[in-house]
Each structure stands twice: as structure tokens, then as C-alpha cells.
């Protein structure tokens, strides 16, 4: 079971709600994924269109736990105010904390991330920070009170998978007891399986499902890959080796002769 801030989940897949062709496609994809946590955001509401009111009705129908984000915030102050608005709006202390450094990479701005996380943890938020694989930032976030870390696989929406596997392995080894969730950059189910085989606790993805030709089928594919990767991790994975090693017993091989010449 996945344990995040003392709440247990049987699914290790967190799914984003953005970019689907229709609300019904989103609903079907969430159901197919088995995800128990879905990410949401908050945006300016038009008095004329009232887009958010309809979206909220859909989210309530889904019946999943919501994890609001602070997407696109550029400063700690913006992220803190956004988190405070999200807490009231969604009725949850959970916040996926994002402070973005620049447009091209959408990479986390680690200094402001730590600053915002420190303030929000002090205000009683359960902070799930979107961070990099940087160890020193991770240490600061844990010291600030974050009980979960969400390092990126690769840049948001890039579908490039785990760009820095070695550092992600180090992070896993360095924080054996902190739930670690790969957030962003996942493109195909094998990327997610790889993260799970490395011992990551869960995977958060959105674009790979939402923009797939068939989001429902892709959601099912990811669910299976994440389960497969987790099973492999729990089972214990054999060490790779340079040379071949016969799997069939060598003893008793027919026609085998010792060359006495």
C-alpha cells in the first residue's frame, strides 16, 4: 500500500486531469487507470463563462482524492497564495507545490520551492513538492516538513522518461523511508515501470495519457506497467552481469565428452 501523509492507497498511479479531448474522455481515463488521486489546478474564473463551476461538478462525480497544484507560479509568494486559495477551494491540506524557473524547461525553482514549502508546512499544509533529483534541495524540503518528494523524470510534457537515472537511484537510496513519486516527463508505460523497478513509490503523469490516441487504453497500459514494476521491485531484481550465464543446468548435457586428447 502507498502511504502518503498517513493516507493509504492501493493504486500507485496519480493522474492529471488536463488536456483530454472531452470531460467524458477524462472520466473514462481516470476510471480505466484505477488512480485514486487526481491532480487539479485553479485558474481565473470568468463571470460570463463560469468554466470552473462545471469542472468542479465533474471532479465531484469522479469521487477521487484531489491534489491541487500551484502550476506556473514563479515566486514563493505566488505559490503560497495559490496554495491558500486551493486549500479553501478544494477543502484539502494537500498541495502539489510547483514553483517554475523558466518557460523552456519548466524546471523547479529550487530556492523559492524550499521557501514556499517551509511556509506552507508551518501553516499545516501537506506539501508534495515538485522538485528535481537534487539531493541538497531534497534534504532542505524534508527538513522543512515535506513527507513526500516528487522529483521530475524529465521536463513536463516532454515524454522523455527518466533523464537522470543514476541521480534518481541515489535519491531513492538516500531517502529510503520518504515516499518518492516520479512527477513529469513520463511518455510510455515502460518509463513508469522503470521508475517503479527502481523502488519509486508511485508515478504521477498526465500528458502521456491525455494526448494518447486512445487515452483509455493508455491509462490501462500505465496501470499495468506500474503494477508490474512494483511487483518486480518487491520480488527482488537480479543483478545485471557482463558475461552470459547458462540458465539450463550444464550437468548431464547429452553428447557431452571430456576431451582427453
Amino acid at each position: 500500500m502507498l502511504d502518503l501523509y498517513s493516507t493509504r492507497f492501493s493504486s500507485r498511479m496519480l493522474l492529471g486531469t488536463a488536456g483530454y479531448a472531452s470531460p467524458d474522455m477524462l472520466r473514462q481515463a481516470v476510471e480505466a487507470s484505477g488512480a485514486e488521486i487526481v491532480t487539479v489546478s485553479l485558474r481565473r474564473e470568468s463571470a460570463r463563462v463560469r468554466t470552473g463551476q462545471g469542472f468542479w461538478a465533474l471532479i465531484e462525480q469522479l469521487g477521487r482524492r484531489v491534489l491541487p497544484n500551484t502550476a506556473d507560479c514563479r515566486t514563493a509568494k505566488e505559490a503560497i497564495a495559490t496554495a491558500q486559495m486551493a486549500r479553501e477551494l478544494f477543502g484539502t491540506n494537500w498541495i502539489k507545490l510547483e514553483v517554475i524557473a523558466n518557460d523552456d524547461t519548466l524546471q523547479p525553482e529550487l530556492f523559492s520551492l524550499v521557501e514556499a514549502a517551509t511556509e506552507l508546512c508551518a501553516e499545516g499544509f501537506d506539501v508534495l513538492p515538485y522538485t528535481t533529483e537534487d539531493l541538497s534541495a531534497a534534504e532542505r524540503l524534508v527538513s522543512a516538513g515535506c513527507q513526500v518528494l516528487m522529483p521530475w523524470g524529465s521536463p513536463i510534457g516532454s515524454a522523455r522518461g527518466l533523464a537522470n537515472k543514476s541521480a534518481l537511484q541515489t535519491l531513492r537510496a538516500y531517502f529510503p523511508d520518504t515516499p518518492l513519486i516520479i512527477d513529469a516527463g513520463i511518455g510510455v508505460p515502460s518509463h513508469a515501470a522503470e521508475a517503479m523497478e527502481m523502488g519509486y513509490d508511485a508515478v504521477l503523469l498526465n500528458t502521456a495519457v491525455a494526448k494518447a490516441g486512445d487515452p483509455v487504453k493508455m491509462a490501462k497500459g500505465f496501470a499495468k506497467a506500474i503494477q508490474a514494476g512494483r511487483l518486480a521491485y518487491e520480488a527482488g531484481i537480479v543483478e545485471p552481469r557482463d558475461m552470459a550465464s547458462p540458465s539450463t543446468p550444464v550437468v548431464g548435457t547429452p553428447f557431452f565428452k571430456i576431451d582427453h586428447a
Binding site: 486531469t17 489546478s41 485553479l42 463560469r50 502550476a71 479553501e88
Partner: protein, 65 residues
């Protein structure tokens, strides 16, 4: 009075944030608010007076990753 509502110039007679929300039809809507970069809780909107050039944000749930 002219304020900045969700990033756009907006002329209003509302004296408080509560009155502004009601005038926009958001009295019972699922929205959250901020004034000049700081969060204003729903319960505090009535006591939050608006002044010329205030920057008001009114947000609602939306799709996110």
C-alpha cells in the same frame, strides 16, 4: 472605481470584495479570492474593502497536471 480584476481593468461600484463577488454572480459559486497578491478567505471578503487600483483575483477549479 477602477480595479484590476483577473488581470483586466474593471469598473465597479462594489465597496467590498464580498459585494464584488455578488455583483459578478459568484455569491454561491465555487471560487477563491486574493487581493493584491494575498489570499482572502471567503469569511473575510465582507471586511475586505476595495480601493482604487486594487488587484483582485477570483479563481475556480480547473484541469491540472
Amino acid at each position: 472605481m477602477q480595479i484590476l480584476l483577473n488581470g483586466e481593468r474593471f469598473v465597479t461600484e462594489a465597496r467590498s470584495l464580498d459585494e464584488l463577488c455578488a455583483a459578478l454572480g459568484f455569491a454561491d459559486a465555487k471560487v477563491a479570492t486574493a487581493v493584491n497578491g494575498s489570499f482572502v478567505a471567503a469569511a473575510a471578503r465582507g471586511q475586505t474593502q476595495l480601493t482604487e487600483a486594487d488587484e483582485v483575483e477570483i479563481v475556480a477549479p480547473r484541469q491540472g497536471g
